[in-house]
């Protein structure tokens, strides 16, 4: 039995650990100062896929849509145990909202061919929408199980998984192919030293071309990498048969009218001394203005 699990991941700016350095003097975020990281819940999705590889011998294919630099999260996936990677990259994808993104990724999934299971992190920390997973499922006309914590069983034609619901959990069974969105519920494995040795030279054709002296040399290097299983596939919009009017800005129904930076208001806090007297006065004030009591 050889089943294929496709994991969609995203490289995101690290919005969770915003330090003083990442703030401009005006109190807004300096995006350029934020490191690009593997979206945390996508790492949980990859871990779940790798557990299925350990348990059932599935093949794990990792795909991402993004700029050429997003190849970094693909190499990181190879270091952890992924079998194959695809970088979906094209200027035509730029400016996509969740609808256009899910369409592009659904085209990518179709191009991969027979896929039994698609895994996505629940949401990415740069947008926090949690929309792309369910939208990919709808575009492929397959069922979805959101908020999965654990796969209980994977058969040739169905999957049973435990997922979180408000105030508890459910065990659901769905036929394959199926899409799962994954929440924090496992500890993503670290990168394996041997795999780093093996895959640190893995590159996309774009990365090869950037450093090659001529197109001919690039072609030669790509062929060599491919023979060693070190060439990361790079797919364009045309390659995955994506319709021009459904991707990028053109394929995005939502438009941003304006963006306002959240500015940390200057501290106007009244300082209270941590002494008996200071705290007595504070409590007295709160009782007097009916905040307390």
């Amino acid at each position: 039995m050889s089943q294929t699990v496709l994991v969609f991941v995203k490289q995101v700016p690290d919005t969770q650990n915003i330090t003083g350095d990442a703030m401009t003097p005006a109190g807004t975020v300096n995006r350029a100062a934020l490191p690009a990281i593997f979206n945390p819940e996508d790492l949980n999705a990859l871990e779940l896929a790798l557990q299925l590889k350990d348990r059932y011998g599935v093949k794990v294919v990792v795909g991402t849509m993004g700029p050429p630099a997003a190849a970094e999260v693909l190499r990181s996936s190879l270091f952890r145990g992924a079998d194959e990677c695809i970088l979906l990259t094209d200027r035509a994808f730029a400016g996509a909202d969740t609808l256009a993104t899910s369409y592009a990724l659904s085209c990518c999934a179709k191009k991969v061919g027979k896929v039994d299971l698609i895994l996505c992190g629940r949401q990415a920390i740069d947008g926090d929408t949690a929309q792309v997973g369910p939208q990919i499922a709808e575009k492929l006309h397959i069922p979805q199980i959101a908020y999965v914590e654990e796969v209980i069983n994977l058969d040739s034609d169905k999957i049973r998984a435990r997922r979180a619901i408000e105030g508890g959990y459910e065990i659901l069974e769905a036929p394959l192919p199926c899409l799962l969105t994954v929440i924090e519920g496992n500890d993503p494995r670290p990168m394996a030293a041997l795999k780093i040795m093996k895959y640190k030279k893995a590159k996309t054709p774009g990365e090869v071309a950037k450093n090659a002296a001529s197109p001919e040399e690039a072609e030669k290097i790509c062929a060599e990498l491919k023979a060693k299983g070190l060439l990361i596939a790079e797919w364009s919009a045309d390659y995955v048969d994506a319709a021009k009017d459904r991707i990028g800005l053109a394929g995005s129904p939502t438009k941003v009218k304006n963006i306002q930076n959240v500015i940390l208001t200057a501290s106007e806090a009244k300082s209270v001394e941590p002494t008996d007297e200071g705290i007595n006065n504070l409590m007295h004030e709160l009782i007097a203005d009916h905040t307390l009591g």
Partner: protein
């Protein structure tokens, strides 16, 4: 081309026949939007044996309740719900469709939006009606829904407009829209609709379902005492509970305290927890990440206790106590008991 614009719809989320608060909040907000547009406020109520919810929906301001009852709609699973809502949209062409940004709403709304090829904005914190000039495509739109939401980890606030097909769809965070008082005298129209479901809509089987109501309702709390990672241990959380009890308030927590396993997720305040707006918010040992602040800055009075004078929490606090919570909290309890 039909120029008459459609109505404002609210998806009503219910569990065991109890309507989620966020759905009633959205009925109130939906009514405000509908009045501005001169259209009706209508509810989509799906489930089985949920007709008793209808009068409540009228009392909060629904002009119409579409009631779709079917045993395949209990318990909630995403596929049949999406099918029924899609069929309803195709028949009635609503202008706006609001969902709560709950776990159910956030898996259901994108499925519907994807099929309808409609835009969907997640986790809105405000909604307004305004005109929109799309300068890039040189098109102008009147009376569109301004979908306002935090993005980029809460560091920016974006106003988003859907320029494609109606409905204009959004999910809205729990606890951010004001719930008006119900008026039991209000009446509306009940429209029963039969669910058209096929086998492909019911392929997901619920094998087991375990849930219980939340241990605590922080959304309605007037006084909250919240503890963070600085509390130091599960045992030491007793200090937070003691202060909450003394002041007649509820206990809350930051994500770090929840992740440390000191308290359950029901108590988490912030972007991935509950949004609160109490009369008094006391936070101890919480540094104040932007995600936490997103859930509490609208509190009327904020007292922050932290040993680090540079903790970001102080930037939103009204009272700053730079000190050790182990020392400060007992003093607060003592002072309050002496005065009250």
């Amino acid at each position: 081309m039909n120029n008459k614009i459609g109505n404002v719809w609210v998806f009503i989320e219910q569990e065991g026949g109890k309507i989620a608060d966020v759905s009633l909040e959205l009925v109130c907000k939906g009514r405000e939007l509908a009045q501005q547009l001169g259209v009706k406020t209508e509810a989509l109520l799906l489930g089985n044996g949920v007709e008793k919810c209808v009068d409540t929906l009228y009392s909060y301001g629904c002009d119409t309740v579409y009631l779709i009852e079917d045993e395949r709609l209990e318990p909630f699973t995403v596929l049949p719900y999406a099918k029924v809502i899609m069929d309803m949209i195709k028949t009635h062409h609503p202008n706006i469709l609001l969902f709560g940004a709950t776990m159910k709403g956030r898996e259901l709304a994108p499925r519907v939006a994807s099929e309808k090829l409609a835009g969907l904005t997640a986790d809105c914190t405000d909604l307004q009606i305004d005109d929109f000039e799309d300068k890039v495509n040189k098109k102008s739109y009147t009376d569109k829904l301004m979908q306002i939401r935090p993005a980029f980890g809460g560091n920016i606030i974006a106003t988003i407009v859907n320029t494609w097909d109606d409905p204009q769809m959004v999910t809205v965070r729990e606890g951010v829209m004001k719930m008006d008082a119900p008026d039991p005298a209000r009446k509306g129209e009940l429209v029963r609709v039969k669910a058209e479901l096929s086998d492909t809509d019911t392929v997901i089987k619920v094998i087991e379902r375990v849930r219980q109501d939340k241990e605590v309702d922080l959304k309605g709390a007037q006084i909250i005492v919240a503890g963070g990672y600085g509390v130091g241990s599960k045992e030491n959380f007793k200090l937070i509970r003691d202060l909450a009890e003394a002041l007649g308030g509820e206990v809350g927590a930051s994500r770090a305290a929840v992740d440390a396993g000191w308290i359950s997720h029901d108590y988490q305040i912030g972007q991935t927890g509950v949004t609160v707006r109490p009369r008094l918010y006391i936070c101890a040992g919480i540094s104040g990440s932007i995600q936490h602040r997103a859930g509490m800055t609208e509190s009327k009075k904020i007292i922050a206790i932290n040993t680090d004078p540079d903790a970001p929490i102080f930037s939103v606090a009204h009272y700053a106590i730079v000190g050790d919570l182990n020392d400060v909290i007992p003093k607060m309890i003592k002072a309050f008991k002496a005065k009250a």
